[in-house]
């Protein structure tokens, strides 16, 4: 019997009635089908007995018998089962359900909730084990530390992999282009990246085009930013009181009784000016962001295009940054067996950087100094202190800086299914970045502005041709390419044994170049002063260039995953990395990992349990960090060797060797053990992960310092062990109450313990660090202590003279270096986040928070205070005076204080990172827009911190400024309003 064909039509939407264009509507029995259009609609010729199947990526498939219906309204439910979820891993993808490694995943849509320039910052508080130390300076990247700091001398940053391109950062990636961010944390997932895996890997996958009608999105936000926590300084009269008290104390304590009553050098009390220097160098910051993207395609070609523009005016005057990003991702289906795709991203950025030391100058500068005096001349403090007038520098009147960056990153990938189950993939990728840096200095103008006693004739003394202005132009270029070729084999035997294997070769080349030139006396005319040719053409020009040694890698990669009915899982991965960085004969290293998992819920006895998924997994492996300082015994030349001879003092070149090398220096090898538990229960509503890990850098590169008499510079050698061990826990709850109210709550916490466990060389130098530019240091590298540990004198209290009393820790009656002790590190012991999302009808609301506990912060700017520099109001009010003794704050003083616990504060903080409220405007079916959402976001609206400075979030070199507030950019509070549209 033959039935007549009917034409039926329908519409496919998600649960919230948002149309799903490009969904597949098929009649599987007859291999017919179509795709939904732009509005989610479709029409199809059917027989009454047909069954139509509606599928869409990430949604649960539905099958519906046609019967006699002619109109279908199909709501697809999002697939929350997580069983089908696929995770991007190195050189491939894997099903999350049978993954035997620790991978934190953050979806693009979750990142997009927070308006940030760099997606790494949005990771903060969202992924367990991933410590993000954010910076709010325009264009500045955040610092990411995955599972603790494992190296002192080596590179500390994770490896970033953008669509298969291995790179150093993701500053060039528009967060709106990101489909997902996966953080690989354990050896099982990292070993495939061999000697670059030890610091963890952040995998970035950018969005792909979806077939169906073209969908356009336009998103924008704009807002303003201000300093979140301010430090109140003393005013003019308080400053004068304090300074004079301090000078009096100098006279009383300098062993010269004749000056005890002197008032020489006292600052008069009636002052004309009372300048708030922080106000004078800051303004309200402004941010605008625009993003346009288009996605669409046919069965054979799917394209995604986006253009993003971000513009920021920093809170510090003349600190600006803007960035344009363009992206084109296209997938071609050339035949049934051949796919080709290219992902290309372009970044154009420019900035006018400002000197963050200005925050310290503003903190220190005397309030009695005016920005400009009544004659219009810049205020000068040369008679008081050696702090420059911050407004001169911030005002940019005598300098101009411009940095420009151009970066292209692209991957071209071919997948060829040679036979069924066996695919060959070839990918060629390139990345190149050009930087141009212009720095113009009106040296004479600055000289005259800084000190009223300076005159043009005293500028550079009798120099025949003083450099009144100076321009330095620097060009940099980095370039790298990769060629990856690998086979992927995936097959299930007897419906029980599944094998997934990858095998291949990759090669890579990196190179960088620098060229810099300087000329004096370029004109002041702003149109001319970035042009070197307008400057003096004489031998005072300084040119320098550097061409890096080509850095090449050649590697074999292999991975096998086996599972028995999705229940018993085994995995192994391997990479043999050859790196040109190392001595010939010692270039190849083998890195591997083995892992196993047991999906308990696949067992029969778990059939009726509350668990949907319960998985145990364990992994162990060996990873490397090739980014270590290499011992090239370079000859010392240049300014370290020059010497002038003859009446004309012509420089003659010098050359010498000032060091020695360890020829066997190589990568750092880290062993990592991980034990994990993953669970989903209560009908997929509650899910979580618990991980224990121990990472041991078995041959940490540390500095060796021979006795001075040998005369060699310090050098590096593999002499230590650094351990990180910790626990990570993440829990997510997702549910709805009725049809209209959906919510989710997430919580994660990470604990990490870091320390140097062993050192094997007697000349290991307990490297000092954290110098605060006044002869004082604050940190020391030592066995048994975490990296970046503060090493200080301990304050016992204040004596009856108002002076610090230091603890005599070794009880020898003398306070000296041997009374210092360790007081913790800038690295937190605990950190985590609590996140909440609510959707009620058209309204959405989200809160994201971040907490950081157990780290220490050194108040460097306060400790650096010197004679006649300003003090904090709190310090002024609580200081020891004869009439009002204090047990906590010393009396006014001018000496350089010893580095002590007085300046060390708790870095603990809890911050609301983000509160967003949005409203999606209901659209009529035939309106121009598909969706329109408006929202308002408050970023960092509240912080609860113990630290009395601007920001306890202070990243940097563990032996440098990390955890020390000195020349640091403050944390900002921002308010944005935004719009998301799709049409």
């Amino acid at each position: 019997m033959i039935f007549a064909q009917n034409s039926v039509s329908g519409k496919v939407t998600d649960e919230y009635d948002i149309p799903l264009p490009g969904a597949n509507v098929t009649i599987d029995s007859r291999q017919k089908g179509t795709q939904t259009d732009f509005d989610g609609g479709f029409t199809l010729e059917v027989y009454p007995g047909d069954v139509i199947t509606i599928s869409y990526l990430g949604y649960i498939k539905q099958t519906i018998p046609v019967g006699d219906k002619t109109k279908f309204i199909i709501k697809l439910k999002e697939d929350v089962s997580a069983l089908s979820e696929v995770v991007v891993v190195g050189y491939g993808t894997q099903k999350k359900a049978i993954l035997t490694s620790a991978v934190s995943q953050v979806k693009g849509e979750d990142l997009a909730k927070e308006p940030v320039l760099n997606a790494a910052q949005a990771l903060q508080g969202k992924a367990s084990g991933v410590l993000v130390m954010a910076s709010d300076a325009p264009g500045q990247a955040s610092t990411v530390i995955i599972r603790g700091l494992g190296t002192v001398q080596g590179g500390r940053d994770p490896l970033y992999v953008v669509d298969g391109v291995l790179t150093d950062n993701i500053n060039n990636i528009n967060s709106a282009d990101i489909e997902s961010l996966n953080v690989l944390k354990d050896a099982a997932s990292l070993a495939i990246y061999g000697n670059r895996g030890a610091n963890g890997v952040v995998m970035v996958t950018t969005k792909k085009g979806k077939s169906g009608k073209m969908v356009l999105n336009f998103d924008t936000y704009t807002g303003f930013r201000d300093i979140l926590s301010r430090v109140e300084m003393a005013n003019a009269s308080q400053y004068v009181t304090y300074s004079n008290e301090a000078l009096r104390r100098d006279y009383l304590t300098d062993n010269d009784p004749t000056n005890d009553d002197s008032t020489f050098g006292f600052i008069p009390t009636n002052q004309k000016y009372d300048t708030n220097w922080l106000d004078e160098i800051t303004q309200q910051g402004l941010v605008s962001n625009y993003n346009l993207s288009a996605s669409g395609g046919s069965d054979n070609v799917k394209a995604f295009f986006s253009a993003g523009f971000n513009e920021e005016r920093g809170v510090l005057l003349n600190d600006e940054f803007n960035r344009l990003t363009l992206r084109s991702n296209v997938d071609y289906k050339i035949s049934d067996k051949i796919d080709f795709s290219h992902n290309v991203g372009v970044q154009l950025a420019s900035g006018s950087p400002q000197n963050y030391g200005l925050f310290t100058s503003a903190y220190k500068q005397a309030p009695i100094i005016p920005v400009r005096d009544e004659n219009g001349a810049y205020g000068s403090s040369t008679s008081l202190n050696s702090v420059a007038n911050p407004a001169v520098d911030a005002g940019n009147e005598f300098k101009k800086d411009k940095n420009k960056f151009f970066k292209i990153q692209g991957a071209f990938k071919l997948d060829y299914e040679i036979i069924e189950d066996l695919t060959f993939t070839s990918r060629f990728s390139i990345e190149t970045e050009y930087g141009r840096f212009y720095a113009f200095r009106d040296r004479l103008g600055n000289f005259l502005a800084q000190n009223p006693f300076n005159t043009e004739s005293s500028f550079e003394g009798d120099s025949e041709n003083p450099a009144k202005t100076r321009l330095t132009v620097t060009h940099t270029n980095t370039y790298r390419w990769f060629l990856d070729n690998y086979f992927t084999y995936k097959k299930t035997f007897n419906e029980k044994h599944t094998l997934n294997a990858t095998l291949g070769i990759t090669s890579e080349e990196n190179r960088s170049e620098l060229l810099s030139a300087t000329r004096n006396n370029v004109p002041l005319d702003p149109n001319l002063n970035f042009n070197l040719n307008t400057g003096d053409e004489d031998d005072t020009q300084l040119n320098s260039g550097a061409l890096s040694v080509v850095d090449r890698l050649y590697s074999y990669i292999a991975r096998v995953n086996y599972d028995y009915k999705d229940k018993y899982l085994l995995g192994g991965s391997f990479r043999r990395d050859g790196s040109s960085k190392f001595q010939k004969g010692q270039q190849f290293g083998n890195f591997y990992a083995v892992s196993a998992g047991w999906v308990v819920t696949e067992e029969k006895f778990m059939a009726n349990s509350i668990f949907n998924i319960l998985k145990l997994r364990a992994s162990y492996g060996e990873l490397g960090n090739q980014n270590v300082p290499l011992n090239v015994l370079a000859a010392t030349t240049g300014s370290a060797g020059f010497y002038p001879f003859g009446q004309n003092q012509d420089l003659q070149q010098g050359i010498t060797i000032t060091g020695t090398i360890q020829e066997d220096l190589t990568w750092e090898t880290t062993n990592e053990f991980d034990l994990g538990l993953e669970f989903t229960l209560l009908n997929y509503r509650l899910s979580g992960e618990l991980d224990f890990y121990r990472r041991l850098n078995t041959n940490a590169t540390l500095q060796i310092e021979l006795p001075d008499i040998i005369g060699f510079d310090p050098f590096n050698s593999h002499v230590g062990e650094i351990e990180n061990k910790g626990i990570e826990f993440a829990l997510n709850w997702k549910d709805n109450i009725g049809e209209d109210f959906k919510y989710n709550v997430g919580f994660n916490v990470s604990y990490n313990e870091n320390k140097i466990t062993k050192v094997t060389n007697p000349f290991f130098s307990e490297q000092l660090g954290g110098f605060i530019n006044n002869g004082q240091y604050t940190k020391k590298v030592a066995v048994g202590q975490p990296l970046g540990s503060f090493y200080l004198y301990d304050i016992e209290g204040i004596d009856d003279q108002g002076d610090f009393v230091y603890k005599d820790l070794n009880d020898d009656g003398v306070i000296d270096e041997s009374d210092r002790a360790y007081f913790g590190s800038y690295l937190p012991k605990f950190f985590g986040g609590f996140n909440l999302g609510i959707q009620y009808k058209q309204f959405d609301f989200g809160v994201e928070t971040f907490a950081n506990v157990g780290n220490k912060v050194y108040n460097g700017k306060k400790a650096q205070r010197f004679g006649n520099e300003n003090i904090e109001l709190l310090n002024f009010n609580s200081r020891y005076t004869t009439g009002r003794p204090s047990n906590t704050t010393p009396r006014a003083f001018n000496n350089v204080p010893l580095s002590s616990t007085y300046y060390l504060e708790d870095g603990d903080f809890f911050r609301i990172n983000n509160i967003t409220a949005g409203y999606t405007i209901p659209m009529k079916n035939n309106s121009f827009f598909n969706t329109v959402r408006i929202y308002a976001t408050a970023k960092n609206p509240f912080v609860f911190q113990k630290f009395t400075g601007f920001s306890p979030e202070l990243s940097g070199d563990p032996l440098g400024n990390a955890g020390i507030e000195l020349d640091a950019y403050p944390t900002l509070r921002s308010f944005y309003i935004g719009l998301n549209t799709s049409f």
Binding site: I334, I418, G461, S463, G578, G654, P707, P762, G867, V896
Partner: protein
């Protein structure tokens, strides 16, 4: 369509195979040659450069600046710490009061700076003899290197007494207790004398150098330094013979006007026997902050105001002595170049010998630092004669008359010592001179400086270096 697909298939297969083929046999892909200058860059052509690098180490902060000034001047009765009370200059207050301990930063800097320079000298001395090159140049370069090494060891012995003697480039494996331990002062002097005797034979006279090489070590410099080294050992016959040789070489004389000696115009002039060459103009190669640390502080000033001439020194000059005003810049004074020292400067006196008239504010001092000059030869000659007998008056009076004084009436050794103080003030000699003369405690104690006999004749060995040596390095007595 089918044929196209087939062709694509074939092309793809070929591509796959060729890509893999190309890539798989290329492990030598990672054999990359370095493009950095390494040890291989040290060819015979670079022999002069190896020696230039030793001279360069005299421009360093640690060798020549703050610490060295602190030990040699501030610790003595010629100078006070200076600057403002709250600015201690790390440890200059301790040096001024002579309350020093083994953690003294200045001593650590001087120790390190000198051994860095000695390492550079050892590099040259061990490599140059192996080069096939012009024999005359080879000899001269070795002479320069050994002169400089001798000078550095002499300064170390003056400062610390006997020190470890590192005579060649030492590899990590060679480090042992013997290398790390101190040798006797006598052994050190013997080593220094060998270097300087070699240099005397190897080096040309000052006038034999081409103009463009002015500033290199000369035979005269080596003779003068050896005379000084001999004087420290009371080998008066040698002092006399060597100073006579310099005086009879007709290479040197006195600058007519004392104040001119430290002006830029007088660099390498007739009185100059050896000086650190310094260039302030860009590209600069000057002595790191030598003038800055000693420059006038405060309003209109250009420096940190350390190492200020003491009132005691000021009073030591007789009224007609031109050297007082040439040595001391007074607050309120107008200098020879028109610069005015602010009347309200925090210190009443500053060291004029460190003043750089050109590029005054440059942190790289462009003025040469005078190390050995002819007046000192005359004074050593006079001192030797005062002990051995001979014509003391002629050399002594040459120095006095130039200073605007009359001929000496007192020709005693003590009078020569006083003349040395006034002539050579701030030339990094006073403290060592007092110790050498055996009257340091007497002189310094009388001026309230708590010099302890049996202790302060030498400065403490840096504690950190004793620790790192595992005890092989032994501290000086009573520290």
């Amino acid at each position: 369509m089918k044929t196209i697909l087939n062709r694509i298939k074939k092309i793809s297969l070929v591509t796959v195979l060729s890509l893999l083929g190309l890539q798989s046999c290329s492990e030598n892909f990672i054999d990359v040659d370095s493009n950095q200058e390494t040890e291989d860059a040290l060819t015979p052509d670079s022999a002069p450069e190896l020696v230039n690098a030793i001279y360069n180490s005299f421009l360093s902060w640690e060798m020549s600046s703050f610490g060295w000034t602190g030990l040699t001047s501030i610790a003595s009765d010629d100078a006070d710490k200076g600057s403002i009370p709250s600015d201690t200059g790390a440890d200059k207050d301790l040096l001024d009061a002579l309350t020093i301990t083994p953690t003294l930063l200045s001593a650590a800097e001087v120790w390190r700076g000198h051994y860095d320079g000695i390492q550079r000298a050892n590099q040259a001395i061990s490599r140059i003899p192996k080069f096939e090159m012009d024999a005359n140049l080879q000899t001269r370069l070795l002479g320069e290197a050994r002169f400089l090494r001798g000078l550095m060891y002499f300064r170390l012995v003056q400062t610390f007494g006997g020190v470890p003697l590192i005579s060649e480039v030492t590899s990590v494996e060679d480090i042992n207790e013997d290398i790390l331990s101190r040798k006797t002062k006598e052994a050190c002097y013997l080593f220094i004398e060998e270097d300087l005797l070699f240099a005397i034979d190897a080096l040309p006279l000052k006038s034999e150098y081409p103009a463009a090489q002015l500033g290199r070590a000369t035979k005269g410099a080596a003779q003068t330094l050896l005379a000084k080294v001999s004087m420290y050992q009371s080998k008066w016959d040698d002092v006399l013979a060597l100073t006579e040789a310099v005086m009879q070489s007709n290479e040197y004389g006195l600058t007519p006007n004392y104040e001119d000696i430290w002006k830029e115009i007088s660099e390498n002039n007739i009185e100059s026997i050896f000086e650190i060459q310094a260039r302030g103009n860009e590209p600069a190669a000057g002595v790191d902050k030598y003038s800055t640390i000693q420059g006038a502080r405060g309003e209109g000033g250009w420096g940190w105001g350390f190492n200020t001439p003491s009132e005691d020194l000021e009073k030591a000059y007789s009224p007609n002595d031109q050297r007082k005003d040439a040595t001391i810049m007074f607050a309120g004074e107008t200098l020879f170049d028109g610069r005015v020292i602010d009347i309200n400067a925090p210190n009443p006196r500053y060291n004029q010998k460190a003043y750089s008239s050109i590029l005054t504010e440059s942190e790289q001092t462009g003025k040469n630092i005078r190390i050995l000059r002819y007046a000192e030869v005359l004074l050593m000659n006079a001192e030797a004669k005062s002990i051995l007998g001979g014509d003391v008056a002629t050399p002594l009076n040459a120095v006095r008359l130039r200073a605007g004084l009359t001929a000496a009436t007192d020709l005693s050794t003590l009078a020569i010592w006083e003349e040395r103080r006034l002539e050579l003030a701030f030339e990094h000699d006073r403290y060592f001179d007092l110790v050498r003369q055996g009257r340091a405690s007497e002189v310094l104690n009388s001026k309230g400086i708590p010099f302890v006999q049996g202790k302060h004749e030498v400065f403490p060995i840096p504690q950190e270096q004793i620790d790192i040596s595992g005890g092989a390095l032994v501290q000086n007595p009573n520290y």
